[in-house]
């Protein structure tokens, strides 16, 4: 069977790319055609109109699309979470320096402190008659929007009054910083790393500094398509769970980074992709590293859709007046992020693929039927880590 899926060139498309390019889809009898897209609006429309069967989608867009906030309502379901977290807040060099000057000698790594410094900086700019700071984010219904707002509002900055939040396609972010149209932005990999690499800005916060666990992108299906094509849905979900598991293994990272770096995929240096996968990011021109194992999480257990995480995003949408809370919508949102499709796929897998009862924090699945193979995989993993 043929399945056509859209993706945006981002590191969290990894499981989808691996499913197509590493044979996980074809092993399930699926010819997976990946189509690179340039905008989230196109992705939504092409999924809605059946040009795509499946889409790499911003998690909040599944909610917005299903409820029909800003387009005709089309019920969507998250088959799996392709990536958890993975975002960063970047500031232009001069804005970062100005923020530091308003930090009272404190460490900007603390988001509570950096937020207060931002409030003071904004007040100083206002007093001097300067324009408000402009921050780029990727889409109205995105965690980039909600992370920036959460961080600012926590320090008493009103994101609708005191700054300008401007939807900016990620390929324009770096140029925006350079030309001064943007003073900062929040986006997923590889864009923050590219801004640092090109000397246009520095990473102020990882998304995980603001919110520790957040579903970032999902593989979205039209709910009616999933119901009409149960076998294709299960096979596709299975392929993606296996691909995501493969992506999560440290020994596969170099392969994965090269696969993602290819011209038809992300078309960026493999080194930058690798650092995002490892959670080791250069935060400024001096090469200073921030390490965080949770920076971007791909694979189980993060890949299982979680209704509670969806409700957090739904609450942000209400907080920022994109919608009004309703008990009925809450149930609908839970339904979009129900682990139903994911769990059905896991239940249909053979023992070796279906996860284990041990739940180690990383490493191969524990297979009680093949202890020798399990030990060999552990040895291989240690060898890889030893070298890194």
């Amino acid at each position: 069977m043929r399945i056509r899926a859209g993706f945006i060139p981002l590191v969290d498309a990894a499981a989808l790319v691996a499913a197509a390019d590493r044979g996980f889809a074809s092993e399930e009898g699926i010819t997976l055609d990946l189509v690179r897209e340039v905008s989230w609006s196109n992705m939504r429309d092409r999924l809605n109109f059946g040009h795509f069967d499946a889409a790499h989608l911003l998690a909040p867009m599944v909610i917005a699309g299903t409820l029909g906030i800003d387009s005709p309502p089309v019920p969507l379901s998250a088959a799996i979470v392709l990536g958890q977290n993975g975002n960063s807040i970047v500031l232009a060099e001069d804005v970062h320096a100005a923020l530091q000057a308003h930090a009272g000698g404190g460490d900007l790594a603390d988001p509570a402190l950096s937020g207060v410094a931002l409030r003071r900086l904004l007040a100083a700019r206002r007093a001097a008659g300067g324009e408000p700071l402009h921050f780029g984010m990727t889409f109205p219904f995105s965690n980039h929007n909600y992370l920036l707002r959460y961080w600012m509002a926590a320090a008493g900055v009103d994101p609708d009054e005191d700054v300008r939040l401007v939807v900016t396609p990620p390929p324009y972010m770096v140029d925006g910083l350079r030309s001064g149209r943007l003073h900062g932005f929040c986006a997923g990999s590889p864009w923050p790393a590219l801004a640092v690499e090109e000397g246009a800005g520095r990473i102020l916060h990882l998304g995980t500094d603001i919110i520790a666990v957040l579903p970032e992108k999902v593989l979205a299906l039209r709910t009616d398509w999933a119901a009409q094509n149960p076998e294709a849905t299960t096979a596709l979900t299975r392929a993606l769970i296996r691909a995501a598991t493969w992506c999560s293994m440290p020994q596969n990272r170099v392969d994965l980074a090269q696969m993602l770096a290819a011209p038809g995929r992300l078309d960026v240096p493999a080194e930058i992709v690798l650092r995002a996968l490892e959670g080791r990011l250069r935060v400024d021109g001096s090469g200073r590293l921030r390490e965080n194992a949770r920076y971007l999480t791909i694979g189980p257990p993060a890949s299982r859709p979680d209704p509670d995480g969806a409700l957090w995003m739904y609450a942000q949408m209400a907080r920022w007046k994109q919608l009004a809370l309703s008990g009925r919508d809450e149930e609908t949102v839970r339904g979009c992020f129900s682990p139903r499709l994911h769990d059905a796929a896991v239940a249909s897998m053979s023992g070796a693929d279906a996860g284990d009862g041990v739940g180690a924090f990383m490493g191969p699945r524990f297979d009680p039927n093949d202890l020798g193979g399990y030990l060999a995989e552990l040895t291989a993993q240690s060898a890889v880590m030893h070298k890194s």
């Binding site: 905008s39 609006s41 109109f49 040009h51 005709p72 900016t168 396609p169």
Partner: protein, 192 residues
């Protein structure tokens, strides 16, 4: 008089759309190419009633923000065509066009404008395909025909779909369509 702004990365196509729309004396048509991230400024300047945008531009997401309440609102561009007319939207997305209209405009007028844009986009695609073919040599065309046949059999494609795949692969890898066709044929022979 309605003001229509056409934004396309392909100036030739934009011009074709403009010519077609200008046959309607009630339309005032402006064509713009857009430099990265300057669409908002352009909208403020032109203040169009209808905006026709090429789907290959990432700038669409920026326009979407205008539909969600914000302070960045040069004019209330509220919908992507008439949202009740899903057929028109489907046709537009299929042709690679998006159209945004200012609130309060009669849907019938917009539909006519959109139909013209969709027809021109499709015609332009067809002409470009024919031109591509005319440029290739006879030998190359034979290669392309064989490769198309292989793709049609192996992947269940129609002829046009097969050709489009060869063409997009060639563009991505910056090679000639004939070269991609040759590698498809070679691969098929190896896999026999």
């Amino acid at each position: 008089m309605l003001r229509v702004l056409v934004v396309d990365h392909d100036p030739e196509r934009a011009d074709k759309v403009r010519q077609a729309l200008e046959e309607d004396p009630n339309l005032q048509v402006q064509v713009a190419s857009v430099k990265a991230g300057h669409l908002l400024g352009l909208l403020r300047q032109a203040e169009p009633d209808v905006l026709i945008v090429d789907l290959d531009l990432p700038d669409r997401d920026t326009i979407e923000q205008l539909r969600v309440a914000t302070r960045e609102r040069p004019r209330p561009i509220v919908m992507f065509v008439d949202q009740s007319d899903t057929e028109a939207m489907r046709a537009a997305v299929g042709a690679g066009v998006s159209a945004y209209v200012v609130d309060g405009l009669k849907p019938g007028r917009v539909k006519a404008i959109l139909d013209v844009a969709v027809a021109r986009f499709q015609e332009f695609d067809r002409l470009r395909r024919e031109l591509d073919l005319a440029k290739t040599s006879l030998a190359e065309r034979k290669l392309i025909d064989r490769a198309k046949g292989i793709l049609m059999r192996a992947r269940g494609f129609g002829e046009e779909e097969a050709y489009n795949l060869l063409r997009s692969k060639a563009m991505k890898e910056q090679k000639k369509v004939g070269e991609i066709a040759q590698s498809v044929i070679t691969a098929a022979e190896l896999l026999k």
